[in-house]
């Protein structure tokens, strides 16, 4: 059997007396679609920050494929195939989507530090960026400044930027946050249509979406893993009902 | 051997206290609004010129000090309400440009009204004498300066720690959005703090004339020292500003006495190294 695409063991992180991650061990098989759920403050975004290197764990290890990446800088992890999106749009307001995604492609190809050749000369990178944008249905607006884009289009651009890094593992932090429900569905269709080579972990509050698009679900509470299982196992789990489903659903 | 060292230490300490008065207001307002106010030195200069003008009219030195405080505070809040608040959300660069523009104008205005020569200050006779202790001369004026600065520090720390307004200021420095959410009127709190801070700078300016003189370039000469105190001490920290000001005052006096060839080199070097070690200053958060 091949190694899992992403694995963490014993991840621990605390700020002073506040423990935000405690003994977190997850393992995502190649090509899996995992959902990460839990009430607000459960440490879901913190876990993504730990995996991507935005935060340093106090202890524990992170493996991408068979390589330990715990000590790597965030940008080096991206180069090895670990990409993420942000819950709150983290884009380049004054660049056009085409420019932004082309830049991400150039970064992956290792040519973004070239200052003596024109960007237009990198035709393959531009074509690839345009194809990514078109595949997410934002090809028509890719020449405008990003800040002029509709909110939902900006959410798609978040994903486009991550895809441009050709990830093996993609971590999506509430990709549909703030998007009306129907558009959110379209957004998840786009995610479901991603190549099966890409392993996906997404944070989402809408349980219908979770059960429809995730093959397995991880539940976090208070910085710890509560339970992991298939959609139906999670739906039937009494503990999950208590801490999560019992409460009001988030839109 | 000992006597000069004590003298240098004393002068440096007095100078540090002066720098503290000049910079503490900037530190608190910068910590609260992240507003880089390079015109802070101009408010100190306003205080200094108010004191000189009133003494010219025959006022006693002591009576001019509260006026220096008041006028600098009132003028500053006028600018805060009309001009500065427009750029709180703008970039660092925009804030630097606007306030340095104002500083330039204040220099020109001072030259227009008062000319470019040094202004005289007429101290009461008893402030111009020395107290001798263990064979060392201590300037009465510097003792007075230290006493004023210590009193101000005590008042500030007390007000911040024990009054309702102080609590609001601390909350706003700590987390502006949170404070707003808790019903603190950050806008008004900031305006008052700004006036107080600039008033203290005005007071410092009036007290500084005897030590460092006064001409229209006062704004820029002291701006760099004030910025060093704020950056090294850490934004929004009164303790940090006090420590940094004393450190700077003593090193400046000691440097001038023991290694005059190095000039200000040593101070800049210490500042750059300190900021590399702790980019948010000695007592800075983040």
């Amino acid at each position: 059997m091949t190694a899992p695409a992403l694995r963490t063991t014993g991840l621990h992180k605390s700020f002073g007396s506040l423990v935000v991650a405690q003994d977190v061990a997850i393992s995502l098989p190649q090509g899996a679609r995992y959902a990460l759920i839990g009430p607000n403050g459960a440490g879901k975004t913190t876990l993504i920050n730990l995996i991507t290197g935005a935060l340093r764990p106090d202890s524990g290890e992170i493996l991408l494929g068979e390589e330990a990446i715990t000590a790597l800088e965030p940008d080096s992890r991206v180069k090895r195939g670990l990409a993420r999106t942000f819950q709150i749009n983290t884009l380049f307001p004054d660049l056009s989507p085409l420019e932004a995604v082309t830049l991400a492609v150039c970064e992956r190809l290792g040519v973004a530090n070239v200052w003596w050749r024109r960007l237009v000369g990198f035709r393959d990178a531009v074509d690839e960026a345009y194809d990514i944008l078109a595949s997410l249905n934002i090809g028509a607006v890719c020449y405008r400044a990003t800040r002029e884009l509709a909110y939902g289009q900006q959410r798609l651009l978040e994903i486009a930027l991550a895809l441009a890094t050709k990830p093996k593992v993609l971590l999506l932090d509430e990709p549909a946050a703030g998007v009306p429900r129907q558009q959110g569905g379209e957004l998840f269709e786009a995610i479901a249509n991603l190549s099966s080579d890409i392993t996906v972990l997404f944070i989402e509050h809408d349980m219908e979406v979770v059960f429809r698009f995730a093959s397995r679900v991880i539940v976090m509470v208070g910085g710890r893993l509560l339970v992991e299982g298939t959609s139906s196992e999670i739906a039937a789990d009494q503990r999950v009902r208590e801490v999560y489903l019992g409460r009001s659903r988030h839109g | 051997m000992i006597a000069p060292a004590v003298g240098v230490l004393f002068d440096g300490f007095a100078y540090g206290m002066l720098l503290f008065l000049l910079s503490v207001g900037l530190s608190v307002t910068l910590g609260m609004m992240n507003f880089v106010n390079l015109a802070h030195g101009s408010f100190a200069m306003v205080g200094a010129y108010v004191a000189v003008s009133l003494m010219g009219l025959g006022w006693p030195f002591f009576a001019t000090l509260p006026c220096a405080f008041l006028v600098a505070g009132v003028i500053s809040v006028g600018f805060e309400r009309t001009l500065f608040r427009r750029v709180y959300r703008a970039s660092d660069l925009q804030q630097v440009l606007l306030t340095i523009g104002l500083a330039f104008i204040s220099v020109a205005a001072a030259a227009w009204f008062y000319g470019t020569m040094q202004q005289p200050v007429r101290l009461p006779v008893y402030l111009r004498t020395y107290a001798t202790f263990m064979g060392i001369n201590f300037s009465i004026y510097r003792l007075f300066l230290i006493a004023v600065a210590l009193a101000v520090t005590g008042l500030l720390v007390g007000a911040l720690d024990y009054t309702r307004f102080g609590a609001q200021v601390r909350a706003a420095v700590d987390n502006q959005r949170m404070a707003q959410g808790l019903g603190v009127d950050v806008d008004t709190v900031f305006a008052i703090t700004f006036a107080l801070g600039s008033g203290l700078a005005g007071l410092g300016g009036a007290l500084a004339i005897e030590i460092v003189g006064l001409d229209p370039n006062f704004t820029f000469t002291y701006l760099i020292y004030v910025l060093i105190v704020v950056a090294v001490g850490g934004l929004g920290s009164i303790r940090g500003s006090l420590l940094a000001a004393i450190l700077l005052g003593v090193s400046d006096a000691a440097g001038k006495y023991y290694v005059p060839t190095l000039g200000a080199f040593l101070i800049y070097l210490v500042m750059v190294s300190l900021l590399l070690w702790r980019p948010s200053g000695l007592f800075g958060r983040r």
Partner: protein, 327 residues
């Protein structure tokens, strides 16, 4: 929305030479025939423009505010001046050595500068500038201290053009270097690297998430900008055959920011236009007491921040219809 369907056309249009650019460079030749008595001023303008373009690369494109950029300008000036004084008066190699010295210092200080932001960045760049000023001031045996570096004797340019009293050679030389610098900066701005700088300015937090090492990028541009500033300084030393401490001063750094901001940051020609407007205005008003010159600078700064945040070129751009909108 038709007309720009192809991504290659869209990107190519962004970096195409505009007719007004060509006209601009032709106009820069006019001083030779129209106002030959002002050629020394024209050289000063070209040199200041080089310096302003170098600051624009870090401030306008990458978003790093520096209050100490004169350090690199002055270092280039003293290096070129000292080489000439020591007996090697060949201008072009002196120019390159001056640029290299400043670039090396920029590379070393770059490691410090890119680590900090906000007030700490302002203070560290300011501190580096003040430090170098103090060093030059104290080392008067080498630099001449307050009297300035004198006895800078230049050989003819390329062995055949003497630096004449009227400034023909000086302006031709300065203008050629300015043109080369703008060409290089133009290439850089439209390269993938230039794009990544704009992205850092727009949102540095996102950069690691697309696999970009933004600190390394900032170090590179800081080194490049320092090199260009050094070339500008070297040019000043060679054309005026003198270097004063003022080349390293805080006033020089502050003035440069004013120039760039008046012209417009983050636009290739902002620094050039700013240099022309500022230097001509200062020349016209040179009879004025310097204190009042400061008054006008102050007023201009406040006006620019409140009413013209993108400088003269930004203001013009909003007035003129945008070509790319035509369909």
């Amino acid at each position: 929305m038709a007309g720009v369907a192809d991504p290659h056309q869209y990107l190519a249009a962004k970096q195409r030479w505009a007719p007004i650019e060509v006209a601009f460079w032709l106009a820069m030749l006019l001083p030779f025939v129209l106002v030959p008595t002002y050629l020394p001023l024209a050289s000063q303008i070209a040199i200041t423009a080089i310096f302003a373009v170098s600051l624009d690369l870090i401030l306008g494109y990458a978003g790093l505010v520096s209050l100490g950029h004169a350090a690199y300008f002055g270092l280039g000036a003293y290096t070129a001046g000292l080489i000439a004084k020591a007996g090697w008066g060949e201008p072009f190699s002196g120019l390159l050595i001056g640029g290299a010295a400043a670039g090396l210092f920029g590379h070393l200080t770059g490691y410090i500068v890119v680590r900090v932001r906000h007030l700490a960045l302002i203070m560290i760049t300011l501190g580096i500038g003040l430090l170098l000023y103090e060093v030059a001031n104290r080392a008067s045996w080498l630099t001449g201290g307050n009297d300035g570096l004198q006895g800078v004797a230049m050989w003819p340019l390329f062995g055949s053009f003497d630096f004449d009293l009227y400034g023909y050679t000086a302006y031709a030389y300065s203008l050629a270097v300015l043109f080369a610098v703008v060409l290089a900066a133009r290439r850089l701005v439209h390269s993938p690297f230039g794009l990544s700088l704009r992205a850092i300015r727009e949102n540095e937090r996102r950069m690691p998430a697309i696999g970009a090492p933004s600190r390394a990028r900032l170090r590179t541009i800081y080194t490049i900008a320092a090199t260009i500033a050094g070339i500008g300084g070297a040019l000043l030393a060679q054309t005026t055959q003198f270097v004063s401490l003022g080349a390293l001063s805080f006033e020089r750094s502050a003035e440069l920011i004013v120039i760039l901001v008046i012209g417009g940051t983050g636009r290739l020609y902002g620094g050039v236009v700013g240099a022309i407007v500022y230097m001509v205005a200062r020349d016209r008003l040179s009879g004025m007491n310097p204190q009042y010159w400061y008054f006008w600078i102050g007023l201009m700064l406040i006006g620019v921040v409140l009413f013209l945040p993108n400088g003269i070129l930004g203001g013009l751009a909003t007035l003129l219809p945008r070509r790319s909108r035509a369909s």
